[in-house]
Symmetry: C2
Subunit: 416 residues, 2 copies
Amino acid sequence: MKLKTSPFAPDRFPALPTVKGVRAATGSRGFYARRGVERDDVFLFVMPEGTSAVGVFTRSHTASADVDWCREALKMGKGFGRAVVANAGNSNAFTGKAGILKNEATLKAMAETLGVPREQCFLAATGVIGEPLPDANYVGKMVPELAPELGEPDWEACTRAFMTTDTFPKGAGVRCEIDGVEVSIAGILKGSGMIMPNMATMLCYVFTDAAIAPDVLDKLLRDAVDPTLNSVTVDGDTSTSDTCMLFATGQSGAPMIESVEDPRLEAFSAALHGVFRDLAHQLVKDGEGASKFVEIRVEGAVSAASAKTVGMHIANSPLIKTAIAAGDANWGRIVMAVGKSLEPIDKDAMRIWFGDHLVAEGGMRCAGYDEARASAEFAGDHIAIRLDLGAGEAGWTVWTCDLTHAYVDINGAYRT
Amino acid sequence: MKLKTSPFAPDRFPALPTVKGVRAATGSRGFYARRGVERDDVFLFVMPEGTSAVGVFTRSHTASADVDWCREALKMGKGFGRAVVANAGNSNAFTGKAGILKNEATLKAMAETLGVPREQCFLAATGVIGEPLPDANYVGKMVPELAPELGEPDWEACTRAFMTTDTFPKGAGVRCEIDGVEVSIAGILKGSGMIMPNMATMLCYVFTDAAIAPDVLDKLLRDAVDPTLNSVTVDGDTSTSDTCMLFATGQSGAPMIESVEDPRLEAFSAALHGVFRDLAHQLVKDGEGASKFVEIRVEGAVSAASAKTVGMHIANSPLIKTAIAAGDANWGRIVMAVGKSLEPIDKDAMRIWFGDHLVAEGGMRCAGYDEARASAEFAGDHIAIRLDLGAGEAGWTVWTCDLTHAYVDINGAYRT
């Protein structure tokens, strides 16, 4: 089926900065040509020796063979990385021995063609779960074809090469300074849900030419991902392939950072966080069938984890998501979702706002409740819901989209 | 909006047996008349002195005032119950002090009119959350009106009186023997989701004329509810008002049962389980927008709780529910849901069947996989999914329905 472009799609792909040391190429393996669509579906990234590499992956117990390999490689490669191959059109998840053989063949091609250590090569795949590939070297044979094409990344082309049900390519980048030296950050992401199997698994690659030791980079990645990519949801369905990797080539000329406490990191850390937040918001804005972007801010919780749990119960509730799709300011369903989270609250101290309009307090609809004002807050395509649980001092923000007829259509039609 | 009747609606309401000692009346308080619909929306049940009463309720932290009262009454009333008043059209949840005053007034009317102890009176309400009633005695004033009408229950009329988005009235009953004496069980239920706020909260009342001590009855209820009502889901949204109560009038002439080990309970216990399973299946078959009834059997788990968790992750996945709606035998999404449950599995020993057709084993699509056969299993309106997780010996079964366009419509339109 032809997907309708998200109403949030930007006019054009953002101009991402050059990240010194990163080279890329894209090509078509034919995953989509078989379905009558001409497009690239494989990319190759290559980085120089000494590039720090860190990653976080799906927690799923049925993770793909590619995810299993990346975890292993990060350990064996001691935090360094030289190359990434990703394909769209087949997730290589639940493909048994065949999936492992595909990885072996691809890694062999990467190591031999590029002259890099096998354990510093990373893989990703996104698409239908459980479809075996025609042969083990199906993806690997692309590597010698792409190697001569390597050059400064065409970020938009790379992003388009790993899209599945995405309706627009998603990228974000920024320049900042470390100790007075300019460094660049550029990131690309695919996914029409952070959490969406078969087709829109979240894959995210961020590159910088800063020089940052692997253990420091790992901490920066985890700190940046928690309140951004790990705080969005489209449908609550965690994928088998979620992958987010961050590479630091060290080619900017900025000094090597070897401690997370280094004050020279401050601007970089904030810039990195901004890139991830931008990518996370684009992810939700291209959520399958999305017509509204929803921010849910939960305060007054006993802990940040508790606030996030409450936020996610609201964000994943099909009743709330369908009400938002219809523009129905149904605050009672927010009360329902808070209740079913089983997190500590003070029912009588709890307050709920839609935008700036207080709708509930004192264990009931508030005295100044105005249906017209509440509805007005739900009429636009950016919805802000805020809660004070009245139970503590901690807060968290999550983002989601609505649940529309288009979601039902896309997910009934995808595989066939 | 006019709701389309579920394709699973039976031709007629089942003939429920007479339960000696139970009297009922229904009437219209006008909750629906205000919306131009003529129907009853309140019922009153009255039982004789010595009736054992037990109940299980929502675990929600934003439970309704009615649920809070029922929990308190069960403690104070020492396991005995004499009357129930329930209304549809307003859930009395998150109505603050006004909600408590409504309960006080209704209980006062019940105790005075019926001459029964206040703490043996039970309340329930279902409908929009957070709407205050016009006055505290709004429901209570129905009690003296209904009392003269009390008689042998018209089960269908009672059931229709507490429906909200239900598209057919749901009841089940059976006769069985205790120690050679015939006893009856009759149950009624409303809900278009076990778990659905604002409109289709699950309320369930089951009556028997067996003589069973409160603590024994309580154990029987919990044992019956766990694998039935607690094992269905429509949308994963737990309500603020879920209530399930079981009353035993002791008027059948069968001997009093005072121990759960009593062998004379065997047939009754099985019959009770059957009534609850029947009601649970009707609940799913009238799930909002449901077009398919889905049974998910999980075996080979490390514990029954683990099997149920896996089953519920499958049953609540919007991706699986939309695939089922479209008749797409997308077994990869089952793999996804198992993985995201984070329960122990042996990925390589796991097997998945659609109906009798094995679709996956050995960590991949099985050798004899047949797309046409798999699709055929998804073509009908009864879908059977079975898994062996390969991790242990325990199993559990859950039931759900699909996620269709009608669900999006119903929940966008309900409150307005």
